[in-house]
Symmetry: C2
Subunit: 345 residues, 2 copies
């Protein structure tokens, strides 16, 4: 149309005006006009092949991105990720094609398509360590939402500062007079990343970092004030059983790793005519990750999920572009006053 070469069109299209690339203004205008009138759009695929950027950010989740029936713990993260991508002019690629093995998606599999994206955001309570190690080893740009232990190298992440938030909330409990505190959560893992072997001799995965971080904060805070810290596992126990155990051991405040477990205990306690928080204070260490009734105004802290998603995208683009800056970020949680923490009787 303009009697101009493909190279010239490319130069015009990209607004190149370096010292070593010159386009006569008149030619530029002719090309621009042709582009406008034909509605020509450069093929992004070919573009990516030639250049190295795609402006596509991958989102990998171990569960479906659009959960079918949950109380949407992950939703706010995704909102933040979308906001971040939108403000950067990036599209989001959901790896729904990742094949499912043993009930979870796998990042790496025959014909993995990670490289469709410039980089990748990883979402999930616990990430597969082998997958992580491989990402690190292959120098794929990626960011984890949620802190992760090293996997053959430092893992870039944007997480919530559970230790600090937990310490703060434990201190509140101690300040109002509690001396016997319980941490109620999955398993009874010593702190640390290494996989463990259970009594049955089978390998048991380490606690997810998010759980370990809470427990570490709990132990540190309890130790610092010289109070009594008790550990109660939740697996295979009814809320009633748990409640019995807590009361029998003289616990006056329970810190719930999982909000939903707190709801369950509160509900049982109320059925028995117990007074929450007079007879037992209950504190939730974060937002519910499972659907839970919201009729109780828990004393708790909130995970800054949206902000985490947003910042993850920020870190990712830094990694992609090689811009300097922190690649491991912990964000503060918001303390919620609530009504389930009061001085013990």
């Amino acid at each position: 149309m303009t009697g101009v070469s493909q190279a010239t069109v490319s130069l015009v299209l990209n607004g190149r005006a370096d010292s070593d690339v010159r386009i006569a203004p008149e030619t530029r205008d002719r090309v621009l006009e042709a582009i406008r009138s034909t509605g020509y759009v450069a093929d992004p695929i070919a573009r990516r092949l030639a250049a190295r950027r795609n402006r596509i950010l991958g989102v990998f989740t171990y569960e479906p991105v659009f959960p079918a029936g949950t109380g949407d713990f992950f939703h706010p993260f995704l909102v933040g990720i979308e906001e971040g991508a939108e403000s950067l002019g990036c599209d989001l690629l959901l790896f729904t094609s990742a094949s499912v093995v043993d009930g979870r998606r796998r990042i790496f599999h025959e014909d993995n398509r990670l490289r469709l994206a410039d980089g990748c955001v990883l979402l999930g309570r616990s990430l597969d360590r082998d997958d992580l190690a491989r990402l690190v080893a292959e120098e794929q740009p990626f960011v984890s939402v949620g802190r992760r232990d090293d996997a053959g190298g430092p893992v870039p992440y944007v997480g919530a500062d559970y230790p600090v938030a937990t310490v703060a909330i434990v201190e509140r409990a101690v300040a109002v007079g509690h001396r016997t505190l319980a941490y109620v959560g999955q398993g009874d893992h010593p702190v640390g990343p290494a996989p463990q072997t259970g009594l049955d001799g089978q390998d048991r995965p380490a606690a997810p970092e998010s759980h370990a971080d809470r427990e570490r904060g709990f132990r540190a805070a309890v130790a610092a004030v010289g109070a009594t810290g008790i550990r109660e596992p939740v697996e295979d126990r009814s809320p009633a059983d748990l409640l019995d155990s807590l009361l029998a051991r003289g616990v006056t405040v329970a810190f719930m790793e999982e909000y939903a477990d707190g709801s369950a205990i509160a509900s049982v306690a109320r059925e028995r005519g117990l007074d929450i928080p007079r007879d037992l204070s209950i504190v939730a260490l974060g937002d519910p990750t499972r659907p839970a009734p919201s009729d109780v105004d828990f004393t708790m802290f909130r995970i800054p999920r949206r902000q985490m998603g947003w910042q993850a995208v920020e870190v990712l683009t830094r990694l992609i572009e090689g811009t300097p800056g922190p690649t491991q970020i912990l964000l503060d949680c918001e303390q919620v006053e609530g009504t389930t923490l009061a001085p013990p009787r």
Copy 2:
């Protein structure tokens, strides 16, 4: 590593075993072994450039994909789309980069990236007609979730059969004795796709197809049985005002285009000591698209949203691959008995 050409690797990689492509089993094994040991994965981008498929399906929404508010009318569609994509081994590309003009995203804009995907699913209550027309004209493979009028050609869609569902529910009302029925919805559009001019002389967009279809069903059913059909617009009116008007006009059953408006009227009616459905039956024509209290067990029908999403992906892949089959599909809605429809006094 194997002393074999790139072409051979490609053939092995794709498991080509046509009559005109032969690879010695031994060579094949050597190549496969090399692939396994190096962890080589073909670059999907280059792949796409050479072949014509990408196994990426685009998802375009006029609003954020992950809505900030809850209530989430669109969520089930996305669940269905994800399920469909997953079962087909496709990834989903969210066009979050689409720039926002006048509060909505635009499909076409400078540097649009539609072609990153093999095809595209469109989601939104009302789609921009110019965008649609252009998609049709450019022969971009796409599917709309929700029926759409022609836009310079037939628009592929997977929609809900609102006319049939509405007719059925109107007939239920007539069967129990109602003779004065009201359709309560936005505006007062004559049926038809053409844009209209309001009293103020300004262009007013046509009713979205989903609304027009309901109203058409309503009118047809009312006419068929010789009952009285009344039209009540909702804009700029309080629920109290609406309720007054309905009762004053002798309406015994109101068909609500929008669930949330039904909730509002029911709530006002209850405050006044009225009996729903004795004093006024209220029927919701579909699931809530805005957050609405769910304390009322409405007589209504449900939009098969998840199934629509799923089938949209099916139709889209048919279009992409040129497989014959219907490209305009209407799915049945599920009638819900509910408790807000009863014989009039």
